[in-house]
């Protein structure tokens, strides 16, 4: 297995070919904020929160899907990056309706944590306040699209781990939604095994267990996916 040496925030580091910048950074103890990425699932680079600067490349690169290369110079922290990440988080907030105080995930929400960590404490962008629906037809679980950040973790865990492929993303841009069985109400899904994995991986309160009251949605982020954590295997 060939090894690439490069610099991470000025420090020389080495990573195996096929590893992503995120993986090497994590090994090195350098933390990069992420949202759509989840260890054990494939990476899709959907949220762009993990962006880093790579010398010679015009735009910041998502660390979760960018493989390391020999001689690369990677910067994980800078004012521009902070601003970029903060803007990404702000956009996620204003695009839908995230109302922490009445949310089942309050206190256990990755979006909320990111806002705290990145100092996103007010919005300059206008809130779009769309009226989105809640599908509560499943016996055990519900999905509130108001809180979905389209990270597609649910889509991937269902497909890659459970093997049911109940979830997909339908529509583009502002109209994009995760849907069960191409638009069948979740409760009528012929493929859903009710395993609950999607609920556990959802970073926000979009997917939740019914019957949980506000702030009671604490997810069990147990490491139930270790068998995919091979170098390279998690990366497309």
């Amino acid at each position: 297995m060939s090894v690439h040496t490069f610099t991470l925030d000025g420090q020389p580091v080495a990573g195996a070919a096929g590893e992503t910048i995120l993986e090497v950074a994590t090994e090195q103890g350098v933390s990069i904020p992420t949202l759509c990425h989840l260890d054990g699932l494939s990476s899709v680079g959907a949220c762009r929160l993990c962006v880093v600067e790579v010398a010679g490349r015009p735009r910041p690169q998502p660390a979760c899907i960018t493989p390391v290369e020999e001689g690369m110079e990677v910067v994980t922290r800078s004012e521009e990056l902070d601003e970029w990440r903060a803007t990404v988080v702000e956009m996620l907030f204003v695009e839908r309706n995230h109302i922490c105080s009445i949310c089942v995930a309050n206190g256990d929400c990755e979006l909320q944590d990111l806002a705290v960590d990145l100092g996103v404490d007010h919005f300059e962008l206008p809130a779009m306040s769309p009226r989105l629906e809640i599908d509560s037809s499943h016996r055990l679980f519900a999905i509130d699209h108001n809180r979905c950040v389209l990270c597609t973790r649910c889509v991937r865990v269902c497909d890659e781990i459970e093997g049911a492929h109940t979830w997909d993303v339908m529509g583009r841009g502002i109209d994009a939604r995760v849907v069960s069985d191409l638009g069948t109400p979740w409760g009528a899904s012929p493929t859903c095994t009710s395993c609950g994995k999607c609920v556990q991986v959802c970073p926000t309160g979009a997917l939740f267990e019914k019957g949980r009251a506000v702030g009671e949605g604490a997810k069990e982020r147990r490491p139930f996916l270790p068998y995919l954590r091979r170098h390279g295997a998690g990366t497309r």
Binding site: V116, G119, D121, H122
Partner: protein
């Protein structure tokens, strides 16, 4: 708010006033947090001074109220020893929230005495951020905390205030 932190006599009460959801207004709470670990300090963070705090005040040998001030340059710190005045109680409509001098007055009237009370004001400017202090104000927190600690450990001339 029950009794003072159990049976150990407290050296002093620190009341950080302000709403951390309103940017620099949270500086009082930040300073209170910074001194909360100091031995025998009883630190409270409140959004406003309420009559209920009179009980805590009357039970403390010394008190420091930390608050944000808009009339000071951001990050600058002002300290003064408070003496409540009878005149001031008429000054403002008394709602649920009191000015520090009013709290001192009320405490003296209701409980018969007040400990020496100091007010530490920190200049503030940005009230729009939720849960975060602006740069200069955040930088002033350690200094303000040091001033509070010094006030708590220095012997004070006479009770009253």
């Amino acid at each position: 708010m029950t009794s003072c932190a159990g049976d150990v006599p407290v050296a002093g009460l620190v009341i950080g006033v302000g709403n951390p959801l309103r940017g620099d207004d949270g500086v009082g709470a930040a300073v209170a947090r910074a001194v909360a670990h100091v031995e025998r300090v009883w630190a409270l963070a409140v959004t406003q001074l309420t009559p209920e705090l009179g009980e805590a005040l009357a039970a403390a040998p010394l008190a420091v109220i930390v608050d944000a001030r808009v009339d000071l340059p951001p990050g600058s710190i002002h300290q003064e020893r408070l003496t409540g005045t009878e005149a001031r109680r008429h000054a403002a409509v008394l709602g649920h929230h009191l000015a520090p001098a009013q709290l001192v007055d009320l405490t003296r009237l209701a409980y018969g005495w007040v400990p020496p009370v100091f007010v530490v004001g920190v200049g503030a400017c940005d009230f729009d951020r939720i849960g975060a202090l602006s740069g200069p104000v955040a930088a002033a927190v350690p200094d303000a905390a040091a001033i509070v600690s010094a006030l708590l450990s220095a012997p004070v001339a006479s009770p009253g205030g």
